[in-house]
């Protein structure tokens, strides 16, 4: 049994008098301890909503969450808000994209760190303070003692993201969900932050869910990958298999559309036509089929299952005409 097992997760948002939107439509994946699992997709694919649902951070009003999120055997969806709050911060931690809006601008960094420690571990003030300085040092903040007395606006973006990571690590969580943790950062700083996160996962056996739109970040960081489109997992594979033998036409389309720094000169990009708005409801076939070059009638009817191939049960794709392996 894996540490985190998400099964058939569905999130629906309804508005008074408005239509119901299904943001996440039956997503299943699992994460083991010491493993980085990627959720990849474009805007609106449901990757962030999935992570918020796992953490129980979606607004209660107007939101229906079904399925199960088993963390170490307990279904998080059945916990009361109080029970869940005790889990968050201690067992489960989250790192968001924008560190400026996630940190409190009027509290010192030290205070924001000690708050977590004192709430969840019951440390006294001076022990928490000492631990906070130690944590800041661990995430590579120079002169942590002085920095602990500073406010978020006094730090650069990369430093702020390190502080968020330090807060996430404070109670040695068993699962970290990082939602686009480096999207707001420059490439050189991005490389530093990703190195830091993966090193922490490897050292302490923490499980990590990495949410990103950047296939390059996935290739460098994840062990296993789930590609999402319109609220469903369309391909699920180990990192090497996914990049070496992508099967879903959306995955192959993305890989051919991304410019690469190591591409030979004159390599033409092959754009995916249309936009993520042009989709077919999953109930009527494949949501990607309006943008797909090989879609036919078979793609526009009925349920398309996430199925494995003869090359391995771990590599599954939700596609009627998957790309041939080895072509």
């Amino acid at each position: 049994m894996s540490l985190l097992e998400v099964e058939d997760l569905r999130v629906r948002f309804s508005r008074k008098g408005g239509p119901t939107t299904t943001a996440v439509d039956g997503v299943s994946f699992s994460v083991d301890a010491g493993e980085v699992v990627g959720l990849v997709g474009e805007s609106g694919c449901g990757k962030s909503v999935t992570s918020l649902a796992v953490m129980g951070l979606l607004p209660r009003r107007g939101t229906t969450v079904t399925g199960s999120v088993r963390f170490d055997g307990t279904d998080l969806l059945t916990l009361s808000p109080g029970q869940l709050a005790r889990r968050r911060g201690s067992d489960l931690a989250m790192v968001f994209q924008d560190p400026m809006t996630s940190l409190n601008p009027v509290l010192t960094l030290g205070r924001q760190l000690t708050e977590v420690l004192r709430t969840h571990t019951g440390m006294n003030r001076s022990a928490a303070k000492k631990e906070a300085v130690e944590l800041l040092g661990r995430v590579g903040i120079p002169d942590p003692r002085r920095r602990a007395g500073e406010y978020p606006h006094q730090l650069s973006g990369g430093m702020r993201q390190r502080v968020l990571i330090a807060i996430a690590l404070a109670c040695t969580p068993r699962l970290i969900i990082a939602d686009e943790p480096t999207t707001a950062l420059d490439v050189t700083i991005q490389a530093q932050v990703l190195d830091l996160l993966t090193a922490l996962v490897r050292e302490s056996g923490t499980a990590m869910v990495l949410i990103t739109h950047d296939l390059g970040v996935v290739a460098g960081t994840c062990d296993r990958v789930n590609v999402l489109y319109a609220g469903r997992v369309v391909e699920q594979a180990g990192k090497r298999e996914l990049f070496a033998e992508p099967r879903h036409r959306y995955t192959t389309g993305l890989l051919n559309a991304v410019p690469r720094v190591d591409a030979p000169e004159g390599t033409a990009l092959q754009p995916v036509p249309g936009s993520v708005r042009d989709l077919l409801p999953w109930a009527q076939g494949c949501a990607f089929s309006p943008r797909c070059g090989v879609a036919d009638e078979g793609c526009r009817s009925g349920e398309i299952a996430l199925s494995g191939s003869e090359h391995g049960a771990g590599h599954r794709a939700r596609c009627v005409h998957p790309a041939e392996v080895g072509v």
């Binding site: 474009e42 490439v187 050189t188 700083i189 390059g216 090497r240 720094v261 190591d262 995916v272």
Partner: protein
């Protein structure tokens, strides 16, 4: 072939820092500090660098949207900085900008057709309203928008379509130079390529010249004929995109390229990262000598601290590739070794 459309010489944009009750100038943020570059007609110059390096300010200064402090900008031989306001306004027909966020650069209460006809009215293009509307329809079709796009409002479009509208708007006055500041960074990955391909087609068909500003090294490589790498207000390296990406000379270019993620796990596992320490220094108080020396793993005593390196050609590289580093040859040959950098420092 040597038809240079845009020529920038020693351009500087300094923003004064005022302080005290008299608002005396106490210093300056040197956003752009001595940049020279040339863009031949029909080619693309890509400016790449991290946030705060001055690339956007440079782009705006080229169009005189930010007033340069020193230096010169020539467009097709015309000195842009010498122009008086009315003459500048007329000259702007030849220079247009494509912005990062097309929604922010379009009026939400104006239909696309009305927004695109306006510049033609402002510049008094011949033909009158009906001819202008025909031109707008032709352009919308050219950038790949449906025929009813003109009567819609900006919010009715998806991100990629909005950027197509932004490009059509820039093309309305039949410009020669397009400055595109992060033209695809707000778009989804699958849509980015559509816009990049469109920009390429338009360049080929209309003979446009581009100055593309972006932080994404792969995007810049893909679109550019020549690439300039900026750091803290200055160019540290410039060269044809192929050779520059294959054999980068400046330590900063090397570090940037080594940090750019590649969608290929095999390449990712093999690559050697050049880690940089610390953050970008403040452009209000740049380091003496080489501006990159505070973060450079190959920094040498004295010379790097005292003398600001100028762009120069290095033996064994094409004459178009120029680097602003005193020790480029020694670094490339491995005669100077990088100092150890603690990974998390």
């Amino acid at each position: 072939m040597n038809d240079v459309l845009l020529s920038v010489r020693d351009l500087a944009v300094h923003y004064p820092i005022r302080s005290g009750i008299l608002q005396r100038t106490v210093g300056a943020v040197k956003a752009v500090d001595g940049v020279s570059l040339e863009v031949p007609r029909g080619t693309t110059y890509g400016l790449v660098g991290e946030s705060g390096c001055g690339k956007s300010t440079l782009g705006r200064a080229v169009l005189r949207l930010s007033e340069p402090t020193a230096g010169s900008v020539h467009i097709g031989g015309q000195d842009l900085l010498a122009l008086r306001p009315e003459a500048l306004r007329r000259e702007r027909r030849r220079l247009q900008m494509v912005f990062q966020d097309p929604l922010a650069s379009l009026d939400p209460r104006q239909t696309v057709e009305s927004a695109l006809t306006e510049p033609m009215a402002v510049h008094g293009l011949p033909g009158g309203p009906s001819a202008w509307r025909t031109r707008v329809r032709g352009l919308l079709d050219r950038v790949g928008l449906p025929s009813n796009a003109g009567s819609k409002y900006p919010h009715e479009f998806s991100g990629g379509q909005r950027q197509r509208v932004g490009i059509a708007r820039a093309l309305v006055l039949d410009p020669e130079l397009l400055v595109a500041d992060e033209p695809v960074s707000a778009l989804d990955v699958s849509v980015q390529a559509q816009v990049l391909v469109l920009l390429e087609e338009l360049q080929r068909d209309l003979g446009l010249t581009y100055l593309v500003i972006a932080h994404d090294l792969a995007v810049v490589k893909h679109v550019s004929t020549t690439v300039g790498v900026m750091y803290l207000g200055g160019l540290v390296e410039e060269g044809p995109s192929g050779p520059l990406y294959a054999r980068p000379l400046h330590p900063y270019t090397r570090a940037l390229l080594s940090a750019a993620p590649v969608p290929d796990p095999v390449a990712e596992a093999k690559r050697e990262r050049i880690l940089l320490t610390g953050d970008l220094p403040s452009p209000a108080d740049p380091p003496s000598g080489c501006r990159f020396r505070t973060r450079c793993p190959w920094v040498q005593p004295t010379r790097c601290h005292e003398e600001r390196p100028q762009l120069r050609v290095v033996d064994g590289h094409t004459a178009d590739q120029k680097v602003a580093c005193h020790f480029a040859e020694d670094i490339e040959a491995g005669r100077i070794l990088p100092r150890e950098v603690a990974p998390a420092a």
